[in-house]
Symmetry: C2
Subunit: 476 residues, 2 copies
Amino acid sequence: MEGKQFVTQIADIETNFAQWYTDVVLKTELVDYGPVKGTMVIRPYGYAIWENIQADMDARFKKAGSKNAYFPLLIPMSFFTKEAEHVEGFAPEVAVVTHAGGAKLEEPLAIRPTSETVIGTMYAKWIQSYRDLPVIMNQWCNVMRWEKTTRPFLRTSEFLWQEGHTVHATEEEAMDETLKMLNVYREFMEETLAIPVFCGRKTDKEKFAGAVATFGLEAMMLDGKSLQIGTSHYLGQNFSKAFDIKFLDKDSTLKNGYTTSWGTSTRMIGGIIMAHGDQRGLVLPPKVAPIQTIIIPIAAHKGGVIEKAKEIEAVLLNAGVRAETDTRDMSPGWKFNEWEMKGVPLRVEIGPRDIENGQVTVMRRDTLEKTVVKIEEIGEYIKTALLTVQKDMLEKSRSKRDKKIVTANSLEEILKGVEEKNFVKAGWCGCRECEDKVKETAAATARVMCDEEGVPTRCAICGKEAKHNVIFARAY
Amino acid sequence: MEGKQFVTQIADIETNFAQWYTDVVLKTELVDYGPVKGTMVIRPYGYAIWENIQADMDARFKKAGSKNAYFPLLIPMSFFTKEAEHVEGFAPEVAVVTHAGGAKLEEPLAIRPTSETVIGTMYAKWIQSYRDLPVIMNQWCNVMRWEKTTRPFLRTSEFLWQEGHTVHATEEEAMDETLKMLNVYREFMEETLAIPVFCGRKTDKEKFAGAVATFGLEAMMLDGKSLQIGTSHYLGQNFSKAFDIKFLDKDSTLKNGYTTSWGTSTRMIGGIIMAHGDQRGLVLPPKVAPIQTIIIPIAAHKGGVIEKAKEIEAVLLNAGVRAETDTRDMSPGWKFNEWEMKGVPLRVEIGPRDIENGQVTVMRRDTLEKTVVKIEEIGEYIKTALLTVQKDMLEKSRSKRDKKIVTANSLEEILKGVEEKNFVKAGWCGCRECEDKVKETAAATARVMCDEEGVPTRCAICGKEAKHNVIFARAY
C-alpha cells in the first residue's frame, strides 16, 4: 500500500516528538529550509495559513482602534543604545549592514529585530499635543534575530510578524491598552487557532528587554512543553524618555507619553501544529485551514463521478467553504493519506454507488468519524460541521491541557511535574535565585504568573513566604 | 482664513511639480522620511491605500492561478554571480550584511533587491517532473536597492512590492504567462487606479538585468513624464540554467524550464498622486481611497446634526462604502480643505437647514461639482456616484494623455515633443547609438515599443530603415 508509507514516514509522535514536528512541517510542504542557515521558506500551503491568520487578526486589531503602517527595515545601530536594557537584550542578535551601494556605510545599520526604536523616533516627531493621543499603530513585516539553534516557525533568523506600538497620555491608559491587546490575542488564539492559553505577567527575568512589564500567552503543546505564542508589553516611559516622545498636556505642561508594544508571529503556525497534530500529521482548525473540505472522487474513471464531485465543490464554494476536488490520477487511498497528513478538516468521498444513493461520506479529520450525508443537504451539513470541528478542537485541547496541570510544593515536585510533561503551578517568593534554581534543576522556566487564582503560602523552592503563583514549564 | 492656508502651502502644480509632489505626500500624511537616508515611513493614510491595492491585486493574481509564498530576505552574494547580466545590474545597488549574532559572517549576504536567485534555487529543489509544472508563485515583501537620489514612493532604498515567479515547460507557455500577467496589470491599473497605460516590450537597454525580454507598463504623469508602473519579464532559460531548474519531460529527457517574473510596487501610489492630483492636493480613485466619503456636519453644535451625520454614516457603511464623519472641533471650511487635500472622492455636507429639508449636499472631489441629494436616497446615490467617479477619472486621464501624444520624424522633433511634455512616437532603427543620442539630446528614453500600431518607414534619429515604433519620453 503506497498510502501506508506516508504514515510511517512521519516519526513517532510519542517517542520522537521533535522529529515528528520536522517531518510534518517538511512533508506537508508548509515550509522548507532557506539557503542561508537558520532561514525558512514559507511554501504556499504554509503561507495560506498565515494569510488566514493575518486576515482574522487584522480585523480584530482594526476593531480595537489600530491602524496599519510600515516603518523601515534598517535601524541605525546607535538607536539601540538609547535604551539600556533594550540594547543589552537585542544587540547580540542583530544582523548588521555595513556596506551598501558599493561603499562602506558611515554608521552600521541593524536589520530590525523589533521596531520600538525606529517607531519611537517617528512618534517623537509626530506627537505634539494631547490631542494627538492615543497613537495606535500596527505593522505586518519581517524581522530578524540571529539565533544559534533554529527550527521552522518556532525560531528562525528571519520571521514574519505583526508588532503594535502605542502611545498614551497616562500610565493607566497604557496599561489598559496592554491588557486589552493581551485579551484580543487570547480570544484570537482560542476562537481561531482553537488553542487555549494561559495569560499572565512574566517575571522580570523573562520580560521583554526594555519593558516595565511583559504579559505573555502560553500554550501547552502535545509534549507538555509551553510555547510563548504572543506577548503584550507595558513599556512605561522607558522608550518615551529614550526617544523623547513628549506631548503638551491639557495643563500646558510638556510630558513624556506612556508606550506599549505587542506582537505575534509565524510562530503561531508552529503552535497549531504542536497543539493539534497526531500521528497522521496536521490537524488544522477550520478557520485557518487553506482547504476546509477536500472532495475525493472514488472510481473517478466512471462516468459522472468527477462531474458530481465538481457540483458539490460548487455548492460548497457558494456556501463560503474553501473546498477543492482532488482529480489527480492517483488512488483514493493515497489521496486520503495525503490530505489527512495535510490536516484538511473535512473529507467528502463520492463514488458511483454514492451517486446512485444520493449520498456522500464525510470524514472529520479531528475525530476520524465518518457520517453519511444526503447530497442535497451537503452545503448546510459542511458549514455546520466546520463550526463543530472548530469548537470541539478547542474543547479537546482545553481538556487535554487541564489534565496536565499540577501543583508543586517543592523543587522536587516541580522537577517531577515537568518530567511528566505537565505545567506546574507553584508558589514563588519572587527572587531570581529561586527562579534560576528551577531552571538548573528542572530545565523549566517561569512561564507566567497567575496570582489572580490565589497565591500559595510558601515558595516551593526556598520555603519563604510566596509572593506569586507561577506556572513553571519547559518551553520552546 | 485658516483653511486657505492649506492650499497655499502646497507648491504650484504648474510651475513646480516636484515640490508640489513632495508637499502633497508629506502634508497629506501618506509618508514621512525615515531616519536612514533614502528610506520612507508609510503612514496609516498611505498604508491604507497600499492595503486596498494589495487586496484588489491579490484577488486578480489568485484568479490567474498564482499562490502566495514567502522567501528569505537574505541572499548569499555568490548567488548573484550565477547570472552574468543579473549581477552586473544589481550588485552595485545591494545592501550587504557582513556581521550577525556578534560575529563576522563567512559569506556576506545581500538584502534582496529582487528574488530570482533565491527563488530559482528553491524551485530547482522542488521541481522534478513535468507534472510539477507550471509553478506560479507570488510574494508580497520588502526589497532594497541602494539609490543615490530618492523620492518617496518613486525611488527609495527600501520599498514594498509583489514579485511573481513562474516556471514553465515550454518557451511558448512562459511567454504566454509573461503577457497574461502584463494584461492583469494593465486591467488593474485602468480599472482600479484609473490610470491608462501603454504596454509594450522594452528595448534591450531598458530591460531587466537577466531577462530575454521585458514588457513594461508606462503611465503619463501630469507633467508629461512617464512612470514605469509595472513590468513583466520573460527570462527564457537564463535563470533556469544558472540555477539548475530542470524537469524530466514526458519524453523522459531532462530539460531546463522557462521562467518569468513580474512585479509592481508602492511606486504605484506615486503614480496615483501624479496622474490624478491637482492644486488642492490628492484626488484618489474610489477603489483605493481609504475613506470614500467624508461626512461634514455644519453648525455641529446645533442639536441633531451630529446624530443625523452618524445616521448617514451608518447607512453608507451598511452599503459597503468606506465612510467617516469628521466630528472634530474645527470649522467646516478647515475640514473641507483638509479632506480635499487628502483626496476623498465624495464629501457629504449636512447642517440644520439640510435636515429640515430632508437633504444633503454632495461634492465630488474630482470635478468639484455639488449636488443636492435627498437623505432617503443617500445610500444608492453614493454607491452610484463612486462608480461614476471611478469611471470618469480613467476617461479624464485617458483623454488628457491622448492629447499629449505626438509623432516625430527627427531628433529635433523628439526634443521639441518631450520639451512640450509629450510622449513622442518615433521610428527607430533598433541600434543602441540612436537610443543613446535621444537620451543625450532630449533627456528622454525609449519607454516601450508599440510596433503593433505600425512601424514608421525611417528611424527618426539616423534616417535608416526603422524596425520599431518607439514611445520616447522623459521618465521617473
